[in-house]
C-alpha cells in the first residue's frame, strides 16, 4: 500500500494524543501551568497564542525532546513527524538523504525506500531537487522538503512548529494547502503551533489558545471572531485592547 495514499476516514474512539495537566518550568520561569487537550486521528488541533506562551514547548514535550515537570502525555504511537520552524534539514546531506533518515529504522528495501522518497517529493513538487543540498534551495523549498521528510515515514502524529512563519503570503497558502491535503491523505493526528491567522483558521479543526502557560479558550476557528472571550477576541482581531500585554504597552 502506498505510504501516503488516502486513508479510510473513521473517527477513532480513543484520542491519539491525550495531554493531562501538563507542567513545565525553565529555571524559575513556569512556562506551562497545567495544560490539557486531546487530539483524534484525522484531526488537526491548532495551538495559538502570543510569543513565549509555551506553544513550541508543548511540541518539544510531545516528541520527547523535553521532559515534563508534571502531568501526563499519552500517545498511541511514537511514529512522529515534526516540521520544524527552521526546517532543520541536515546541511551535509542531499534532499534524498534527508528524506531517507526517518526510514532508517523501518528496515525497508532500497527500492521501497526510494519509492517513498520520490512520492514524498512529488507531493511537495520538488522531485527535480532530489540530489540538491539544502543550501541550494530557497527558504520555501527547504520548508517543503521538511514537510516531505516529516511525512515520508507515514507518521501517526504530525507536529507543525510555526510552519508558515517567515514565508511570503503565496508560499504560506501553498504550505497550508499541503497541510489540508495531508490531513485528508494520512488520517494522522496533527497539531499546528502558530500565530499566523490564516494558518490556524484554514488548517485547524479545533483550536486551543494559550496565555501565560494556561488554556484560555478552546473552540472551532469560525467561533473565534464572534467569541466573547477577551483573549481570543483580542488575538483574532489583532487589537491592542484586551487582557494580553495590557501592562506592557
Amino acid at each position: 500500500m502506498s505510504s501516503i495514499a488516502p486513508q479510510p476516514v473513521t473517527r477513532h474512539p480513543e484520542p491519539i494524543i491525550k495531554v493531562v495537566d501538563l507542567k513545565k518550568s525553565f529555571s524559575e520561569r513556569e512556562v506551562l501551568k497545567g495544560v490539557s487537550f486531546e487530539v483524534f486521528a484525522g484531526e488537526t488541533l491548532g495551538i495559538i497564542g502570543p510569543s513565549g506562551c509555551g506553544k513550541s514547548t508543548i511540541l518539544r514535550l510531545l516528541c520527547g525532546l523535553l521532559q515534563p515537570d508534571g502531568g501526563q502525555i499519552i500517545k498511541t504511537s511514537d511514529n512522529i513527524g515534526l516540521v520544524f520552524q527552521s526546517s532543520a534539514l541536515l546541511n551535509s546531506l542531499t534532499v534524498r538523504q534527508n528524506l531517507a533518515l526517518p526510514l532508517r529504522l523501518q528496515h525497508l528495501s532500497r527500492k521501497e525506500q526510494e519509492r517513498r522518497i520520490q512520492e514524498g517529493l512529488k507531493l511537495v513538487g520538488l522531485a527535480e531537487y532530489i540530489d540538491s543540498y539544502p543550501s541550494q534551495l530557497s527558504g520555501g523549498q527547504q520548508k517543503r522538503t521538511s514537510f516531505a521528510r516529516a511525512i515520508v515515514g507515514n507518521p501517526k502524529i504530525i507536529l507543525y512548529d510555526e510552519p508558515t512563519t517567515g514565508l511570503d503570503p503565496v508560499m504560506s497558502t501553498i504550505i497550508e494547502d499541503y497541510m489540508i491535503q495531508l490531513e485528508a491523505q494520512l488520517h494522522a493526528a496533527s497539531i499546528v503551533v502558530t500565530h499566523q491567522y490564516s494558518t490556524w483558521t484554514r488548517t485547524a479543526d479545533r483550536v486551543v489558545m494559550l496565555h501565560a502557560g494556561k488554556v484560555v479558550w478552546e473552540g472551532k476557528p469560525p467561533e473565534a471572531e464572534g467569541s466573547n472571550n477577551p483573549y481570543i477576541r483580542q488575538f483574532a482581531h489583532a487589537t491592542r485592547e484586551g487582557p494580553m500585554l495590557s501592562n506592557s504597552v
Binding site: 525532546l65 512522529i80 527552521s86 532543520a88 546541511n91 533518515l101 529504522l105
Partner: protein
C-alpha cells in the same frame, strides 16, 4: 570611576570557580561521550560509508597542511641539532637524534596539533551549528541517535587516519632532516639513514602509534563533546570553536608528556 556591568568577572576567585566548574563539566561530558561511542562501536553500530567520507574529510584533506607543518618543523629542528652536533664532532649522529625526536615527539605532536586546528575546530563549529539550527533535535525526533550518527564515524575516521598522518609527518620531517644534514653538515644520505637504523627501536613505533590513537581520541571526543553540548546563537559557534582548539591542544601536550613519562622515564 564606573565599573563595567559585568564587574563580577573581574573577581579572580569567582573567575577561577567558574573556569574550574566549566572544565570539570567539559571533561566529564567528554568521558561519558567516549564511553557511549565505544559501546556503539563494540555493538557494531557503524555506518562504514560515513566512516569513509569522514576519513577523507579528516585525513586526506589534512595531508597538505600536516606536510607543510612537518617539513618546516623538520627543517628548523634539524638545523639546530646539526649545528650543535657538528660543534662536538658528532655529525654522524645527526640522523639518529633527528629521527628519535621525530618518532617519539615531533611526529605525533605535529599531526595532533594540526588536526586539532583544522579538524577539531571544524567539528565543534559544525555540531554547534547543527544544535542551534535544530538539526540534532530533528535526528532525535526521527529516533536516530546523534552519537551513533555523528560521533561514531568521526571517531573511527580519526582513529584510522591519525596514525597515518603521524607517520606521514615523521617521514616528511625525516626528509627535511636528510636535506639539512646534507646542506649544513655535508653529511651523505646513507650515513644519515644508517644512524637512523641504529637508533630507532621497535618500541619507538609502538609508543608513536599509542600517542597517535590518544591524540585522535582527544581531538574528536573533545570537539564532538563541546559541539553537542553548546547551544545559543551565532556567537556561541565562535566560542565553541575556540574552546575546542584550546582543550584539544592543551590535552594533546598533557597526554603526550604522560605517555613519554610512562614509557621513557629513567628507572
Amino acid at each position: 570611576m564606573q565599573l563595567p556591568a559585568n564587574n563580577h568577572r573581574l573577581n579572580p576567585i569567582s573567575f577561577l570557580e567558574s573556569w574550574f566548574a566549566s572544565g570539570v563539566q567539559i571533561f566529564g561530558h567528554t568521558i561519558i561521550l567516549l564511553f557511549a561511542t565505544t559501546k556503539l562501536i563494540l555493538t557494531g553500530k557503524i555506518d562504514w560509508r560515513e566512516v569513509s567520507r569522514q576519513s577523507y574529510m579528516i585525513g586526506v584533506k589534512s595531508f597538505a597542511v600536516v606536510g607543510i607543518t612537518a617539513l618546516f618543523t623538520g627543517f628548523a629542528m634539524s638545523l639546530q641539532i646539526a649545528r650543535e652536533l657538528v660543534l662536538f664532532g658528532a655529525d654522524t649522529s645527526i640522523g639518529g637524534v633527528v629521527s628519535l625526536a621525530l618518532i617519539r615527539e615531533i611526529g605525533p605532536i605535529t599531526a595532533g596539533v594540526t588536526l586539532a586546528g583544522r579538524v577539531g575546530s571544524a567539528i565543534a563549529a559544525e555540531l554547534t551549528t547543527m544544535n542551534i539550527t535544530e538539526q540534532i533535535d530533528a535526528l532525535e525526533v526521527m529516533r536516530i541517535d546523534p552519537v551513533e550518527f555523528l560521533v561514531v564515524p568521526r571517531y573511527l575516521a580519526g582513529l584510522f587516519m591519525m596514525p597515518v598522518l603521524s607517520i606521514y609527518a615523521m617521514s616528511i620531517g625525516l626528509i627535511a632532516g636528510i636535506n639539512i644534514a646534507h646542506s649544513a653538515a655535508n653529511l651523505p644520505m646513507a650515513t644519515f639513514l644508517d644512524s637512523v637504523k641504529q637508533t630507532i627501536l621497535d618500541r619507538d613505533f609502538t609508543v608513536h602509534f599509542i600517542k597517535a590513537f590518544i591524540n585522535a581520541t582527544i581531538v574528536i571526543m573533545f570537539s564532538c563533546s563541546i559541539g553537542l553540548s553548546t547551544r545559543g546563537g551565532a556567537e556561541d559557534v565562535g566560542i565553541a570553536t575556540t574552546r575546542a582548539i584550546v582543550w584539544t591542544m592543551t590535552m594533546i601536550f598533557v597526554f603526550n608528556y604522560i605517555v613519554t613519562a610512562l614509557t621513557y622515564a629513567p628507572r
